[in-house]
């Protein structure tokens, strides 16, 4: 293991699951090379300029931060227990986020690509449905709305049970 790999690894292991700062996707990705990983999958959830037909100016994310962080780490640990992953990390942005900026990033790496894709999807689905983070959409017309809530409970009949399609 080369020194540069060690420092990359350390950088990645210290990723805090929520961040008030813009997500450094390129930096995170640069830190996720691994000599045993043949497949790296990165997901970035970005702010769209439209939502339900309305022009969006920016979003603002609020969280129960400590709980959100703990839950994201738990979801990552669960992914690691299900799949043989060399790398698994996720980071969610909090506060004001502009159009085209990343709100959440998930990176997974494994020997073969099936695991990296499956684990990546698993982590982002769980984060979006379960972790106490909420977005408020601020529209060009000056209005705003707490939006895009998970509404799985209308199918499952239980606010604690989700459908991950």
């Amino acid at each position: 293991m080369t020194p540069s790999l060690l420092s990359h690894q350390a950088a990645v292991d210290n990723v805090f699951p929520v961040s008030e700062q813009p997500l450094d996707i390129a930096g995170l990705l640069a830190g996720t090379h691994h000599p045993r990983a043949g497949a790296i999958v990165l997901f970035s959830g970005e702010v769209r300029n439209h939502s339900n037909g309305k022009a969006v100016q920016y979003l603002e994310y609020e969280a129960h931060s400590s709980m959100a962080s703990a839950m994201i780490l738990k979801i990552i640990a669960e992914a690691r227990s299900r799949w043989d992953l060399n790398i698994a990390l996720a980071q969610h942005r909090l506060g004001k986020v502009a159009i085209g900026e990343s709100a959440v990033v998930v990176i997974t790496a494994s020997a073969h690509r099936s695991e990296a894709y499956a684990a990546n999807r698993f982590i982002i689905d769980r984060i979006k449905h379960e972790v106490p983070i909420w977005k408020c959409e601020y529209f060009i017309d000056g209005t705003s709305e707490w939006g895009g809530n998970c509404n799985c409970h209308t199918i499952t009949g239980d606010t604690g049970k989700h459908v991950y399609d």
């Binding site: 959830g45 994310y61 609020e62 969280a63 129960h64 400590s66 709980m67 959100a68 703990a70 969610h92 709100a103 959440v104 982002i124 984060i127 979006k128 449905h129 379960e130 972790v131 106490p132 983070i133 909420w134 977005k135 408020c136 707490w146 939006g147 895009g148 809530n149 998970c150 509404n151 409970h153 606010t159 604690g160």
Partner: protein
């Protein structure tokens, strides 16, 4: 107990407030809040409760020093 709410709940309640009513558990807290602000019933019925960074069920026994977090459905990502 101390209560902390998030997101859309802030349209109905202060972000943080103290409650000294005799409230036994999370379900009773929800009912108390619906009585105090019936317009919040819809969103409250879809919320979960958390204590110490963990979700708790509606039968969770609340003690005086607890901080109860009321968690609307997630909309992260």
């Amino acid at each position: 107990m101390k209560v902390q709410v998030f997101a859309k709940l802030k349209d109905y309640f202060d972000k943080e407030f103290q409650l000294n009513a005799n409230i036994q558990n999370a379900e009773a807290l929800k009912e108390h809040l619906i009585r105090s602000n019936p317009a919040a019933a819809g969103i409250l019925e879809r919320c979960r409760f958390a204590v110490n960074d963990e979700f708790v069920d509606t039968h969770f026994q609340i003690t005086e020093n607890d901080t109860i977090f009321i968690i609307p459905p997630s909309s992260g990502g």
